[in-house]
Point group: C2
Chain length 139, copies 2
């Protein structure tokens, strides 16, 4: 068959995405050992939007109900977030940033930006912008 239709693993978008993600996770873990990327995303979102119900929060950070529950549980154990019942809707569990969580996020936000920068550092500023613009369209 034609060589240009052969399946070459190294050329597949999924495989490349996985490897880039691995590198990014390693950079993040080295710079911010207190929490994972996923946990930090939750802290960031709570900081942006304020308290939210658990499921709402999950949708706001692209995690399904089962995943966000685990993340919130671990953040609760770390005392970075707290949960409380919603008085107006007894199904809802409101998730709030604790003072400790707020302090950690504030203290680490600049480092987190540097992590993003380091991940992108093999590219020029212009290339970084182009990459991000292309990637966002694949969302």
């Amino acid at each position: 068959m034609a060589a240009d239709t052969a399946y070459r693993l190294d050329d597949q978008i999924g495989y490349v995405l996985r490897r880039v993600t691995q590198r990014h996770l390693a950079i993040f873990a080295a710079a911010i050992p207190e929490v994972t990327t996923t946990q930090f995303a939750v802290l960031a979102r709570l900081s942006e939007t304020g308290p939210e119900s658990q499921n709402q929060l999950g949708r706001a950070v692209a995690m399904d109900a089962a995943t966000i529950k685990g993340v919130v549980d671990r953040l609760t154990r770390l005392e970075l977030v707290a949960t409380a019942a919603d008085p107006t809707d007894r199904r809802r569990l409101i998730v709030t940033l604790t003072p400790l969580g707020n302090t950690l996020f504030t203290a680490r936000a600049a480092t987190a930006l540097q992590v993003s920068q380091e991940t992108l550092s093999p590219l020029s500023d212009d290339e970084q912008r182009r990459l991000m613009a292309l990637l966002v369209r694949l969302t």
Copy 2:
């Protein structure tokens, strides 16, 4: 503080990577329900290079020893690969594609290429090439 240094989750490369990966995984799972992306990567590599020791194979698909073991275990259970002791090095476990595994990979390779295409479909051919070229440099 300067607004251009604010931490916006949606602008972070790690978050965008995660969401693009989610979309890709969903497309793959719908098209090729028999195996996961990770498992398919192992089949592809074995098909490219022939039998390899478990750890060698892991390095060839960017999985650490613990991860490749789990993937090989599940592929073995599915009878898509088989393992055998290396006669020349008793530490080694040689992993081989079974006839069933080879048949599955051959039958699904074209579909897998379509999955990559569909993931990239929001972009023009030219943009797709540029994105891949940029991403590979972040590996």
